[in-house]
C-alpha cells in the first residue's frame, strides 16, 4: 500500500483516539444499585461498537489532517504506437546551416530545422512513448520514454542552447538503446538518429551495438542532415585510398547499420523538406499496439479519511438521539 503522511507530528493526535476507551461518551443515569441491573450482552456489544466508531472517527480526522496519501504507484496501460528514442546530435556543426555557414536571417541552422520539425512530429504522435537522448563527445540522458509530450517538447526546445563538442555516435547509440532495457517488448521500438555527421565506430563498440540492436529489437531511422559539399552516406569513394572508415565515416556507418540485421532506413536530408519526408514515413509506418507501465506520483487519501470520519460522526450523532432517559 505504501502509505505515508505529509506532516508527521500531527500523527501524535492519534493518542486522542484512546479517549473513547476511558469514557463511553454517554450521559450517566443514576441507578440505585448497579448489581441490580442485569448483564446484557447486546448493550455491551453496542457500547463497544460506539466506542470503536468514535475511535475510528478521531483517527480519521487526525490522519486526514496529517495528509495521508499513497506513495508512488504504477499501473499498466495499452495504446497504439511506438517507443521512440530521439537521438539528437549536439555537435557544434549542428549550429551551422545546411550550406555549412553560420546561419543568417534567411536560412536556419540544421539544429533549428531539426528542432522545428521534431516539435511537429512529437505533436502528431499522441500515443507514443518518446524519450530523448543527445550526444556529442559523450552521451547525455535527457528524457526517459514518456507519454508526457510537454516534457519531450521541453527537451527538444532546450537544444536551442549552443551545441557542445564532437560527434561520438557509438556512445550515443548505446545510450539510446539503454532506454529500452527495462521496458517490455511491446509496440515498435525505434531509434531516430538525427545527425549531421558520423564517426568511425571502434571494433568493441561495433560488437556491442550489434548485440544490443538484436537483443532489444530496435528499428533504426537515420536522418543524416547533409551539409553541402560534404560526403554523403550513399557516396562511393572516388579514390580507393579513401575507402576507409576514417576518410568516409558516413558511408561506413551506413554500411554498419545495414549489416545490423534489424530494420534500418536512412534518409539523407540536404534541406528541411527532406527531413520532413523521413518524419512522415515514420508517422505512416510505426503504429503497433503496445503495453506500458505508468507511474503515478502520489494519491491523496485525506479526502477518504474525512468522509469516513463524517459518516461515523453522523452515526454517533444519530445514536445520540436514541439514548433514553428513564
Amino acid at each position: 500500500m505504501n502509505l505515508a503522511v505529509d506532516t508527521q507530528w500531527i500523527l501524535s493526535g492519534l493518542l486522542l483516539a484512546l479517549l473513547p476507551l476511558l469514557n463511553n461518551g454517554m450521559r450517566l443515569s443514576p441507578a440505585p444499585w448497579l448489581t441490580l441491573i442485569p448483564s446484557d450482552m447486546l448493550s455491551v456489544f453496542i457500547v463497544c461498537c460506539l466506542r470503536l466508531c468514535a475511535m475510528a472517527a478521531i483517527a480519521g480526522l487526525v490522519l486526514g489532517m496529517a495528509g495521508l496519501h499513497r506513495t508512488e504507484q504504477s499501473r499498466e496501460r495499452i495504446g497504439h504506437g511506438a517507443h521512440i528514442v530521439l537521438l539528437l546530435d549536439r555537435s557544434s556543426s549542428m549550429d551551422n546551416s545546411f550550406a555549412g555557414r553560420a546561419p543568417n536571417g534567411a536560412e536556419e541552422s540544421k539544429a533549428a530545422a531539426a528542432r522545428r520539425l521534431l516539435t511537429d512530429f512529437v505533436k502528431q504522435r499522441q500515443n507514443d512513448l518518446i524519450g530523448v537522448a543527445e550526444y556529442s563527445t559523450s552521451p547525455l540522458f535527457v528524457m526517459p520514454l514518456t507519454e508526457n509530450k510537454n516534457a519531450v517538447q521541453a527537451a527538444i526546445a532546450a537544444t536551442a542552447t549552443p551545441a557542445l563538442g564532437f560527434t561520438h555516435v557509438s556512445k550515443g547509440l548505446g545510450m539510446a538503446l539503454s532506454f529500452f532495457q527495462q521496458q517490455p517488448v511491446t509496440g515498435s521500438r525505434i531509434v531516430l538518429l538525427v545527425s549531421d555527421g558520423a564517426a568511425a565506430i571502434d571494433h568493441d563498440s561495433e560488437l556491442k551495438l550489434r548485440h544490443w540492436f538484436k537483443q532489444q529489437q530496435v528499428r533504426l531511422y537515420w536522418v543524416f542532415l547533409r551539409t553541402a559539399n560534404s560526403p554523403g552516406i550513399f557516396d562511393k569513394p572516388e579514390d580507393s585510398r579513401d575507402d576507409n572508415a576514417q576518410a568516409m565515416p558516413e558511408l561506413y556507418l551506413h554500411q554498419f547499420f545495414l549489416g545490423l540485421g534489424s530494420p534500418y532506413q536512412a534518409y539523407e536530408a540536404e534541406s528541411p523538406d527532406a527531413l520532413k519526408q523521413a518524419i512522415a514515413d515514420i508517422n505512416r509506418l510505426e503504429n503497433l499496439p503496445m503495453h506500458y507501465v505508468e507511474r503515478i506520483p502520489k494519491q491523496d487519501l485525506s479526502a477518504t479519511c474525512y468522509s469516513m470520519a463524517s459518516l461515523l460522526l453522523l452515526v454517533l450523532l444519530g445514536l445520540k438521539f436514541c439514548e433514553v432517559k428513564r
Binding site: G13, L16, L19, P20, L22, N23, G25, M26, R27, L28, A54, A57, I58, L61, V62, G64, M65, R90, V132, E134, S136, T137, S138, P139, L140, F141, V142, M143, P144, T146, N148, N150, A151, A154, A155, A157, A158, T161, P162, L164, G165, R295, P297, S302, A303, Y306, S307, A309, S310, L313, L314, L316, L317, K320, F321, E323, K325
Partner: protein, 312 residues
C-alpha cells in the same frame, strides 16, 4: 428528546458534524502562494565524485548526494512550480530540458536527475567562473532562476588576470549558487574507461597553478623566469589541487560578483529553506487546502465528548 438536547455531548457532535459539512463545502480557499521556477545546473566534473557526504552511514559522492537531495526536494515543491535541468563541465553548461511543471512531469524530472552521471561530461576541465558566466548569459532571457550547484574547484587553476567579468549580468540574473562538499580536503577518485574505480588522483596528475596567458608576477621574483620559455618560472609548482574541498570563499565571491545568493548544501531541510528565498519566488493565486481547520474543530468537539470524567 429534551434531555438529549440538554446534553452538551449532543451539541458537540452536532457542531463536529456541521464542521465536517463545511469541510466538504469549502475545502480550499484562494491564497497567494509562492511558486518557484528553478533551472538546476549541476556540476559533473571529476571533483564531484569525491566522497565526502554521508548517507545511511555510507560515504557517497557529492554528485550522488546532490541527486538524492534534488529528487527529495522535487517531491516537496508546490505544484505549478517548474524545474529545468542542465549540466556544467568544462567552461559552459548545457540545458537538458527547459523548466517543466513538477507535478505533471514528476516522473520525467525525477528519472532525468537520477540518470545524471559524471560520464556525461563532454570535456574534462572545470572552469567554474567562466561556466557560471556563460550559463547566466545563456539563460538571461529565461524567467527561471539559475541554481548553480558546484564545489568551486577550478581545474586547472585560474590565472587571476583572466577572471570572468560578471558586470554584464550582475543585477539581471536571478538565482543561487549552492556549494557542495566538505571543508576538509579529500582525494578525487579516478576511474578507468569502463567506470571501475582505480584509486585517486595524485599530486603528479594535475597542474597546481595556472600557466595560461601572461604571468602577473614581477619577473624578478619568479625563479627560473624566461620571457619566452618559462614565463611562470621553471620550478615545478606543488600544491593540493589533486585534493578537493568546498571552496566556499571563492563561491561567495562569485555569488556577490554575479548578484546571486549563496548557500551550502548540507541536508534537504537547509537546501529547501535556502531555495525558498522570496527573491526566487513568484506569488501566484492558488487553491490552498483549508480542510484542516474544520477537521481540527471537529476533532476538538469529538474529544470533548469522550474526555475522561474527572468529577462525578
Amino acid at each position: 428528546m429534551s434531555h438529549t438536547l440538554k446534553d452538551y455531548r449532543t451539541w458537540c457532535l452536532l457542531i463536529a458534524f456541521i464542521a465536517m459539512l463545511m469541510l466538504f463545502m469549502y475545502p480550499s480557499k484562494q491564497q497567494k502562494m509562492p511558486i518557484y521556477n528553478y533551472t538546476f545546473i549541476i556540476d559533473i566534473t571529476r571533483s564531484m565524485n569525491a566522497t565526502d557526504y554521508q548517507q545511511d552511514n555510507q560515504a557517497v559522492s557529492r554528485l550522488q548526494f546532490v541527486k538524492k537531495t534534488l529528487r527529495e526536494l522535487l517531491r516537496n515543491l508546490p505544484c505549478e512550480s517548474k524545474v529545468g535541468l542542465g549540466l556544467f563541465t568544462e567552461r559552459r553548461s548545457t540545458l537538458l530540458f527547459e523548466p517543466l511543471e513538477v507535478c505533471s512531469a514528476y516522473t520525467e524530472i525525477d528519472t532525468a536527475i537520477d540518470k545524471i552521471d559524471w560520464r556525461m561530461a563532454w570535456a574534462a576541465d572545470s572552469n567554474i567562473a567562466k561556466g557560471l558566466l556563460s550559463t547566466l548569459n545563456m539563460l538571461k532571457k529565461s524567467d527561471s532562476s539559475v541554481i548553480f550547484i558546484t564545489d568551486g574547484q577550478e581545474a586547472p587553476p585560474v590565472n587571476p588576470s583572466y577572471q570572468a567579468d560578471f558586470s554584464t549580468v550582475n543585477g539581471q540574473a536571478k538565482g543561487m549558487i549552492i556549494g557542495v562538499g566538505g571543508l576538509q580536503a579529500v582525494p578525487i577518485p579516478k576511474f578507468d574507461s569502463v567506470g571501475k574505480p582505480i584509486g585517486f588522483y595524485t599530486q603528479d596528475d594535475v597542474p597546481h597553478s595556472s600557466s595560461f596567458g601572461q604571468s602577473n608576477l614581477d619577473p624578478s621574483q619568479i625563479k627560473g623566469y624566461n620571457a619566452r620559455n618559462a614565463p611562470f618560472g621553471s620550478v615545478a609548482v606543488i600544491g593540493n589541487e589533486h585534493l578537493t574541498a568546498l571552496h566556499e570563499t571563492y563561491l561567495e565571491k562569485l555569488s556577490s560578483e554575479s548578484g546571486l545568493a549563496y548557500s551550502r548544501l548540507t541536508d534537504l531541510e537547509s537546501l529547501s529553506l535556502a531555495l525558498k528565498n522570496p527573491k526566487l519566488a513568484t506569488l501566484k493565486v492558488v487553491q490552498t487546502d483549508m480542510r484542516w481547520l474544520p477537521a481540527f474543530l471537529a476533532l476538538l468537539m469529538l474529544s470533548l465528548v469522550y474526555l475522561p470524567r474527572i468529577y462525578k
